[in-house]
């Protein structure tokens, strides 16, 4: 019989393999894409308006607001919820 460590490793690995076949949660993936796009929009805005501090702050505030909404939309949990 394998050592306890080896058996525990093997059990966790087989569980992980069974979970991996399900892939990541589609909704989480879509949320992540949306967040990435929002980041990119803000970065572009800051690049284009580097000297306008107020405008940059507004853009960052909008990014913040979108993050905030992700909490209220119950997206705070992990990728496999």
């Amino acid at each position: 019989m394998d050592s306890v460590f080896k058996r525990a490793q093997g059990k966790k690995l087989s569980h992980r393999k069974s979970q991996d076949s399900k892939g990541v949660c589609q909704k989480s993936e879509a949320d992540s894409k949306q967040l990435l796009q929002q980041f990119q929009d803000v970065i572009k805005h800051v690049e284009d308006n580097a000297k306008d501090e107020g405008s940059c702050k507004d853009a960052l505030r909008r990014l913040y607001t979108s993050h905030e909404s992700s909490f209220s939309a119950k997206k705070v949990t992990g990728p496999h919820e």
């Binding site: 460590f5 490793q9 992980r16 580097a50």
Partner: protein, 685 residues
């Protein structure tokens, strides 16, 4: 060569006013684990990383008593972990995991508390990690988490209820025959009405059921004496003829009936650990150690069926935000260095700032009071996070308004203060010196690395200050931040990744390293079981160079690669966490060799969940989680030196849940996300 403890960073806020006092505004918890309810309906809580036990009234409105300090004396603890109220006597058992012993505390109705017995540390028993505890029919059973049996298995230890050792249970023999079931790192224990013991068998991610003779009691739904298929098993509670397993599903509590049939799940949690039945109907006490809170919930478990998920209702939650000046909350990673002995952080209007802090604290209390009891658990956790997030933003705006900033932003130690959704920094490394320095971060931000491009990138505002690369575990997004001197804050420069399994996506990214030969960004993509190499083009745009690895245990495969470092020749060293080894790859992603194997040991190349790695001057430094050791190796894998210590003594550099370490100028910075501080060690070659 030697490695020794030097200091720590992170303010400790554990002072209480004269008791009794209100729980609101006075209760800063540090990773609380165990709870119980005494014979007078009062709630006891193990404030584990603060090395004390707190007692509240049954409404959890008042703190009535605080018992214990750090140490080895009769009224002292090193990580009080699980609590258990004796069903008949005025006793509370406390497993004192870092001191390898169990206390019996006697209490009166007036809440006079005195220690009456300490047991389990006598030589013939020598507990190695007393965790869960149950009492039944005059006997006590303790889960000895880190005991190493002949096959490296852990054990249960049976005592009389007043602490006399009787016997150990080293394996569970199923009542229907078959191979014995072994325990590995058992944590929580619970009992059903027949007195059967339920064991959260963490190392196997199962819940095992046995009687007091160690005979496995089979679940009829599975034909086995254990429940498996769990994401995690770090606790178990049998309540109302249901088996509740916190973390059995991610961010949820799995619920089974006593036949082992999955009934459904309770969602809206982060990482719950201990569930205790309260005196009211359908009322549960639930600790959320990483949210630094104790919560009271109500749910009718009898109506949960059909494998559905549902929210509980939150009646009460206690535990202030851990956002006092210099305080850290779930600190996960560090980069940079401490080079100054004096701080030059300029606070331009300290009185105003204190006023703002006070107003925010009041606002925080007000919002908590206004939160009506009975909110669904998912909404309660979202609102709490949202409140904290709003405050981070308000504090950022105040700092920008006042022009509060570090004078030498190129010369800082940066810390990912993940639980407070921000980066903090320090110049002098003193214990209370951490100050916020970023816009609010995404929840789940974990790893950081610093990147100094060989020549300034287009749009880079201050090339003197390194870019910071941040990985986000939840969203899979990697953000590169730059320092904006006008704002005195870090702002996004570029982003890449995003959650998924595609080539350019990431899933649960953790540690990050920069290849010193070409400034490539290497990411431990732990959920996809691979390493990703990204590069910034001359125009500052990120692109994927290659990925390598897949799920498995053969060479060329990973099972949760958690961190990576790259030496001066471009060779990559990876902590292959669940395979208990270090994997070595060349710059093209070709496997070269590996070293290490599973096993206990603080001064060898045995690993148990090696979590983090960095290098300096030809030496590798590995944080070995279960062994609670920082191990130093040559780059060819020869063990050289180590520091180890399990516990919560901040004067000794002890460790509980060390995360992503960082080595710079002969110093090892090791954030401990459960102790909420960054330990600093020195080494000499």
């Amino acid at each position: 060569m030697g490695i020794s403890y030097h200091s720590y960073i992170g303010t400790t806020v554990d002072q209480l006013p004269q008791l009794p006092c209100s729980t609101v505004g006075h209760l800063s918890l540090s990773t609380p684990v165990g709870s119980c309810v005494d014979k007078f309906g009062r709630v006891w809580l193990a404030d584990t990383a603060h090395n004390r036990v707190l007692v509240f009234d049954s409404n959890m409105d008042q703190i009535l008593a605080s018992f214990g300090t750090i140490g080895t004396g009769p009224e002292q603890f090193n990580m009080p972990f699980r609590l258990l109220a004796h069903p008949d006597k005025n006793w509370v058992y406390v497993t004192d995991i870092g001191n390898f012993r169990v206390h019996i505390l006697e209490y009166t109705e007036r809440l006079e508390i005195k220690p009456v017995k300490i047991f389990g540390d006598e030589p013939e028993v020598a507990l190695r990690g007393p965790n869960g505890i149950v009492v039944h029919d005059g006997k006590v059973c303790v889960a000895d988490e880190f005991y190493e049996g002949q096959q490296s298995q852990s054990r249960l230890v049976i005592f009389s209820e007043d602490g006399k050792f009787e016997r150990s249970i080293d394996e569970i023999v199923p009542e229907n025959g078959g191979d014995p079931v072994h325990l590995l790192w058992p944590q929580g224990l619970s009992l059903d009405k027949d007195g059967n013991i339920y064991i959260s068998n963490t190392g196997f991610s199962t819940v095992v059921r046995c009687n007091w003779q160690g005979q496995g009691v089979v679940f009829s739904a599975t034909g086995k004496c254990y429940i498996d298929g769990l994401a995690l098993s770090r606790g178990v509670s049998v309540i109302q003829n249901r088996v509740l397993i916190p973390g059995g599903l991610p961010n949820a509590i799995s619920v089974y009936d006593l036949n082992g049939q999955f009934m459904g799940s309770l969602d809206g949690f982060f990482a719950p650990v201990q569930i205790t039945e309260f005196t009211g109907a359908n009322t549960l006490l639930i600790t959320e150690p990483f949210l630094a809170s104790l919560q009271k919930h109500t749910v009718n478990l009898a109506t949960l069926k059909g494998e559905k998920s549902r929210a509980t209702k939150v009646l009460k939650s206690v535990g202030d935000e851990r956002d006092n000046p210099g305080q850290l909350h779930f600190v996960t990673s560090v980069v940079g260095d401490v080079t100054n002995t004096q701080s030059s952080y300029s606070s331009n209007a300290p009185l105003f700032e204190h006023w703002v802090e006070h107003q925010l604290a009041l606002q925080d209390q007000l919002l908590k009071v206004m939160q009506p009891p009975g909110l669904p658990s998912w909404l309660s956790i979202a609102l709490s996070a949202q409140t904290e997030w709003v405050q981070r933003w308000q504090q950022t705006m105040v700092r920008i308004f006042l022009n509060d900033k570090f004078e030498d932003p190129e010369d800082l130690l940066w810390m990912m203060d993940s639980g407070n959704y921000q980066l903090q920094a320090t110049e002098d490394g003193k214990s209370d010196s951490a100050r916020p320095i970023s816009l609010p971060m995404l929840p789940g931000s974990l790893g950081i690395a610093s990147l100094t491009p060989s020549k300034p990138l287009p749009g880079q505002l201050d090339p003197e200050v390194p870019l910071l690369v941040v990985s986000n575990y939840l969203s899979g997004i990697v953000t590169i931040l730059q320092y904006n001197d006008r704002l005195g804050e870090l702002v996004p420069y570029t982003v890449f990744g995003g959650l998924g399994t595609g080539d350019e996506q990431l899933n649960q990214p953790q540690g990050i390293a920069i290849d010193p030969t070409n400034n490539d960004i290497l990411i431990a993509d732990s959920g996809n079981n691979r390493i990703c190499r990204w590069r910034l083009s001359d125009t500052g745009g990120p692109f994927l160079v290659h990925t390598f690895g897949q799920l498995g245990s053969e060479h060329g495969e990973f099972h949760t690669p958690s961190d990576i470092t790259v030496d001066a020749q471009g060779t990559c060293f990876i902590t292959d966490q669940n395979n208990n080894r270090i994997e070595v790859y060349d710059q093209q992603g070709k496997w070269l060799r590996s070293f290490g194997q599973e096993g206990y040991g603080t001064d060898s190349e045995n690993f148990l969940l090696p979590t983090s790695i960095d290098h300096e001057n030809g030496y590798l430094f590995v944080s070995d989680l279960v062994n609670r050791a920082i191990k130093v190796f040559t780059c060819s894998g020869e063990f050289m030196e180590s520091f180890s210590g399990f516990g919560a003594d901040r004067e000794k550099g002890q460790l509980w849940l060390p995360y992503l370490l960082h080595v710079k100028n002969s110093k090892v910075y090791l954030p401990d996300c459960a102790l909420n501080r960054v330990n600093v060690y020195q080494f000499n070659i």
